[in-house]
Amino acid sequence: MKKNKNDRILIGVLLIIFGGYLLITSVLEKKGEVAYVKVDNELMFSVDLKDGTFKPRPNEVVKTLQEMPVVEEDKLLVDGVIQTFLAFNQGIVRYENLYYIMGNLGIVVIEYKDNQIRVKEEISPYNICSRQGFSDKQPIICLPNYVTIEFNAAETDVNI
């Protein structure tokens, strides 16, 4: 009986502590303004959520296409021709607001639309990140592909 009482007190205290922590962080949470796409914990490119401005990291090779490519597992086809341009954490193929990069398991397709961003297609066991859909504050994690999308408010918000 004494143990039962101890248990209830402990669970109550834990619920209050972590519930309060969750409440405070969710109140302070802000909508992101820039989406940062990272591969292997390294920034690859960023997309401004307001107007979709694309900014790759320095020295990154970017190929802009005029027509929509076809994704076949780890190959990218344009007009039926295989593009051997992408490698893991190397190279970005861009078509309008679609970005094709190479993850650990295959090509990851990232789409920007209406101030939000999502992983449209990827190859992974449970497809957790592409099922998550569009997001503008909750980070998107493709764990098997080592691809993450994080959101940050613009730097100017810090000044009061």
């Binding site: 834990l14 972590f18 922590y21 914990n41 957790i128 099922r131 859909g133 980070p139 994690i141 993450t148």
Partner: protein
């Protein structure tokens, strides 16, 4: 080790692995890769009925089996997350069982909390910034999940007391 104990431990390990594999296909909250951890019920039963050594062995076998069964190639990232979570929660659970201050429900809750802490530690090596966003939510959900697994494990232990007695034939 008696034949009965060996057989029971093998069955428990197999059941825990199957629960773990099935659970990875179910997403409770869309977008958040969070599992309740029903296979932890088996860990609790083993640690209360047999001991820490047996629990460590079965959990390690379960993790390796689950990692090998997941579709696609062997995934280093997900394996390291589940391994560090298991190590943290097993250390916490074995200390709590030794102390014998709390009941099974509170021990299960604390061990599930430590499981999340272990996962967050491993995740902070893989992805530095994402952890800060997920930490509050994951820590909070782990409490009701731990309570649930603790209650279920308690019910199993209470209702199958004679299962673990070694009979002489």
């Amino acid at each position: 080790m008696s034949v009965k104990k060996l057989t029971l431990l093998a069955i428990f390990t197999a059941v825990a692995s199957i629960i773990n594999i099935l659970e990875s296909y179910v997403q409770i909250i869309p977008g958040i890769p969070f599992k309740i951890g029903f296979s932890n019920i088996i860990t609790l039963i083993i640690i209360y009925k047999y001991g820490t050594k047996e629990a460590i062995i079965t959990v390690m076998i379960r993790i390796i089996v689950t990692a090998l069964y997941s579709p696609g190639t062997f995934n280093y990232a997900t394996f390291s997350l589940s391994l560090s979570g298991a190590i943290f929660s097993l250390i916490a659970l074995s200390i709590l069982v030794k102390l014998n201050f709390f009941g099974i429900t509170a021990n299960s809750t604390l061990s599930s909390l430590f499981h999340v802490i272990g996962q967050l530690v491993a995740a902070s090596f893989l992805f530095t910034d994402v952890v800060a966003y997920y930490a509050p939510l994951m820590l909070f959900i782990s409490i009701p999940a731990g309570v649930l697994t603790g209650i279920l494990a308690n019910r199993f232990i209470e209702s199958t007391k004679d299962l673990f007695i070694d009979k002489k034939f």
